[in-house]
């Protein structure tokens, strides 16, 4: 495989792609399959999910029962390496340290980026999510419609392999027939939630969409649909699809998937792309700035070789930013030149603006009906199987709810792999005089294990002037690169949404007969809402728009000022919908890469 070191760089590439995750992986795949010479530079090490992950290890086989530490911030067995909220020598700052005014930034330095750390929930934005300003008077409209993006959603769903069902729900779109893989059967708690929510509240609990193969992919038909008149691409994609096994219904996707059932960029995009012979990947390369020539065209990327600290210049006819939304913002701001003294794309001051994340809160209860169930394996596709799309769309759009953003609810239940906190998880429902221990704890544990139901809400957030990133005027990272300073503030609009989330979660849990150990946080939504960034759905900062005056990229993700530079990660999102961003990142990246290749063919760039 052409995994290279800086001294192996070619003189020039058709495209230099910064980042190897959902966006960068997608662009690299498509361009390499179409015969272009492509370089991917990644700040972390090379990764091989087929060899290095620990899928079936139980916590007693790990240090500290696999609990999180500063070295492994999502626990020992999570496949995130060299990753975290805080990383030595790679600081960022916040303008305010007041309650819920700080933004938290997860970085993932490894080949495949954050696709290695992902619940794999893959929902399409709905038609209304592209028209936030027009329909609700807040945030920004997207410069494209759902209908323009829909064919690309089909494509990325076919290549990634997404299970789910077409439910025909308003603003939670269906896929084209035959695209989705069958959803897994519901667990006991999900069936109970579906039954009670429907009967008592009129709410639908439906299969979530997730990038996990519940069935092997159709390697005989899908490649021809995705790469018409490209026999080589069809062959390589078919081979790669046949290397991916279907889920064996055990082990958390966050651990990485050695059998390739769960999507990650290395398994799905980079592995077949490397086989074209058109792709070089360069690990351990920390990008510092995008270079431009006197005409203002991008010419490449200056990066630091993390192995020895050396500085190098990778050159290309086009440059693709896919370093994760805020890292791409940082690169644009740090790319200062005579032509672009405020950084690339920033003549209007919009780079860094309109940072958003999901508006999230959660609630849980114990469900007596789920106690003492006959013992059975409830792993399923481990993790999310069911959810409630937002179902008060009409009331929301009519302004009857008092807030502007919808939210989805993710149900979390089941007889899951125990963790260190399992031992204390029965305290709230114990009948012991003190905290339970001894034989009583063992009896209560057998009774209550698996009877807890959690619900997580993730809601829309409109772009606004209070949430943005800029360069810190003083602080630099270990390589001397200026770092980001974040500004964050939840609006009343978002906090009202959180109250509604909490009320709906409590109503569903109540409908399931839940025993509450505390009331929902309806009085203090600021306490209930998860900190900015903590959902790891942060997007924006180089938003796409209809006009150069108020956005950073055009509708094809091309930086207005530099048309041979595209942004292929979440930075282009003009707001967060009540859907997870990754699927949309990939759909936009496919569309942007296609357009960039047309531009190249025509000689426009």
């Amino acid at each position: 495989m052409p995994v290279i070191a800086p001294e192996d760089l070619k003189e020039s590439y058709d495209a230099v792609i910064i980042g190897s995750g959902a966006g960068g992986g997608q662009v690299a795949y498509l361009m390499a399959m179409e015969g272009l010479k492509v370089l991917v530079i990644e700040a972390g090490r090379m990764v091989d999910p087929t060899r290095e992950v620990a899928m079936f290890h139980t916590p007693n086989m790990a240090p500290l029962r696999a609990e999180s530490t500063p070295d492994k911030q999502y626990g020992f067995y999570d496949h995130s390496v060299e990753s975290g909220w805080e990383m030595p020598g790679e600081p960022y700052t916040n303008a305010s340290d007041a309650e819920k005014r700080e933004f938290f930034w997860w970085r993932q330095r490894m080949m495949g980026g954050r696709t290695n750390h992902w619940g794999r929930v893959s929902l399409r934005n709905g038609p209304y999510d592209f028209e936030t300003r027009t329909r609700q008077g807040v945030g920004l409209d997207w410069p494209i419609s759902y209908d323009e993006l829909a064919p690309y959603y089909d494509k990325v769903e076919m290549i990634a392999g997404i299970f789910g069902a077409n439910e025909g729900m308003e603003n939670s779109p269906d896929s084209s027939p035959g695209v989705l893989l069958p959803p897994p059967k519901f667990r006991a708690g999900e069936l109970l939630a579906r039954d009670r929510a429907k009967k008592k509240l009129g709410l639908e609990v439906v299969p979530v969409h997730r990038a996990v193969l519940t069935k092997t992919q159709d390697a005989d038909r899908v490649p021809a649909k995705l790469h018409p008149s490209n026999a080589k691409a069809q062959k390589l994609l078919a081979e790669n699809m046949r290397m991916r096994a279907k889920c064996f219904f055990a082990t958390d996707c966050h651990r990485g998937c050695a059998i390739g059932a769960a999507f990650d960029s290395m398994t799905v995009f980079l592995r077949p792309a490397l086989k074209t012979g058109n792709l070089d990947v360069l690990p351990n390369a920390m990008a510092r700035e995008v270079t431009v020539n006197d005409e203002g065209k991008a010419t490449g990327v200056i990066f630091i070789d993390k192995v020895n600290g050396g500085e190098h210049h990778a050159k290309g006819r086009t440059v693709v930013l896919a370093a994760s939304s805020q890292e791409s913002v940082r690169l644009l701001l740090n790319s200062k030149s005579k032509t672009f003294p405020e950084g690339i794309g920033n003549a209007n001051g919009k780079v860094g603006k309109y940072l958003t994340d999901s508006v999230s809160s959660s609630f849980s209860a114990q469900i007596p009906a789920l106690e003492n169930l006959p013992l059975h394996n409830e792993d399923g596709v481990v993790g999310q199987q069911a959810y409630l799309p937002f179902q008060k769309v009409k009331e929301l759009l009519a302004g009857k709810l008092g807030f502007s953003g919808g939210y989805k609810l993710l149900t979390v239940s089941g007889r899951k792999l125990p963790s260190l906190s399992t031992g204390k998880s029965f305290d709230a429902v114990s009948e012991a005089e003190g905290i339970p221990f001894g034989k009583q704890l063992k009896e209560e544990a057998r009774r209550y294990y698996g009877s807890f139901q959690g619900i997580g809400g993730q809601g829309a957030m409109a772009a606004n002037d209070d949430c943005f990133a800029e360069l810190d005027p003083e602080k630099k990272d270990r390589w001397g690169i200026p770092v980001l300073r974040f500004h964050w503030k939840f609006s009343d609009d978002e906090l009202k949404q959180v109250v509604h989330q909490q009320e709906t979660m409590a109503a569903i849990l109540d409908a399931m007969g839940g025993r509450f150990t505390r009331p929902p946080d309806t009085e203090d939504p600021l306490k209930a809402v998860k900190e900015g960034g903590k959902t790891i759905h942060e997007v924006g900062g180089a938003v796409m728009g209809k006009k150069a005056a108020d956005s950073v990229t055009d509708r094809w993700s091309r930086v207005w000022e530099v048309p041979n530079l595209i942004v292929a990660d979440g930075a282009v999102f003009p707001g967060t919908a009540d859907k997870n961003p990754t699927l949309t990142i990939m759909a936009l990246a496919w569309r942007a890469a296609e357009r960039l290749m047309e531009d190249m063919k025509r000689g426009d760039v």
Binding site: R65, E67, F76, K185, L191, T251, T422, G423, A428, A445
Partner: protein, 216 residues
């Protein structure tokens, strides 16, 4: 142990417990740092450890317990997670060594637990002294259990005040350490973590108990 002594101890325990009764769901007990707990040596496993290796307590950093402390922890393991009709005790699964590994961790997250556990072990021996015994392990089983029961009540009343806070974290670690072993998981009724060809959903008897229709 005489009834009188028990009452005395309960009164004594009351004095040092705070009146505040709160029971939040998450979070760990906070103790003031104790001078008796010297900072542990050793280094962490770094940001890119071998995930597939099977680790044992003591593999990565030196352990802390003296022979006497380890003997006390074995007794506590079996008071908190004893053998019963269906499953073995915590000490037979080596949970005391996990507790040692935990409090010996070089990471900051375990420092509070280290202080609380080491201070708590001293306190148990002092309490045994008040009852006329050399140390906690020398007390008879009923007396040991009674101390645990009283501490469990203190822990429920106030999660922060010592010695209830010590017992809470001790219980969390021993019970959590127990349920993260294959034997503990089996006792809990966890039946997953095995590869299967198809996931068919809950079996009919589960649906029948819930009064739900079979899935399509």
């Amino acid at each position: 142990m005489s009834e009188m002594k028990r009452i005395d101890r309960r009164v004594a325990l009351k004095w040092i417990s705070s009146a505040a009764a709160s029971m939040p769901l998450i979070g760990s007990g906070q103790d003031a740092s104790s001078d008796s707990a010297k900072a542990p040596g050793g280094k962490g496993y770094g940001p890119d450890p071998d995930l597939q290796r099977v680790y044992q307590p003591g593999d990565l950093w030196p352990l802390t317990f003296s022979d006497a402390q380890r003997a006390t922890m074995i007794v506590l393991c079996d008071l908190i997670m004893p053998t019963d009709d269906t499953s073995p005790s915590a000490s037979s699964l080596g949970v005391h060594d996990f507790v040692d590994e935990w409090i010996s961790s070089p990471y900051p997250g375990q420092k509070t637990d280290r202080n609380a556990i080491l201070k708590g072990l001293d306190w148990l021996d002092e309490e045994a002294g008040r009852q006329g015994e050399k140390d906690f392990v020398s007390l008879d089983g009923n007396a040991q259990f009674a101390i645990c029961r009283d501490l469990s009540i203190l822990a429920k009343k106030d999660r922060k005040a010592f010695p209830g806070s010590f017992f809470r974290r001790l219980r969390d670690l021993i019970a959590g350490g127990y349920y993260t072993t294959p034997e503990g998981m089996k006792d809990l009724g966890y039946r997953g973590n095995v590869a299967v060809a198809e996931w068919t959903g809950p079996p009919p008897e589960v649906l029948a108990k819930l009064g739900l229709e079979p899935q399509a």
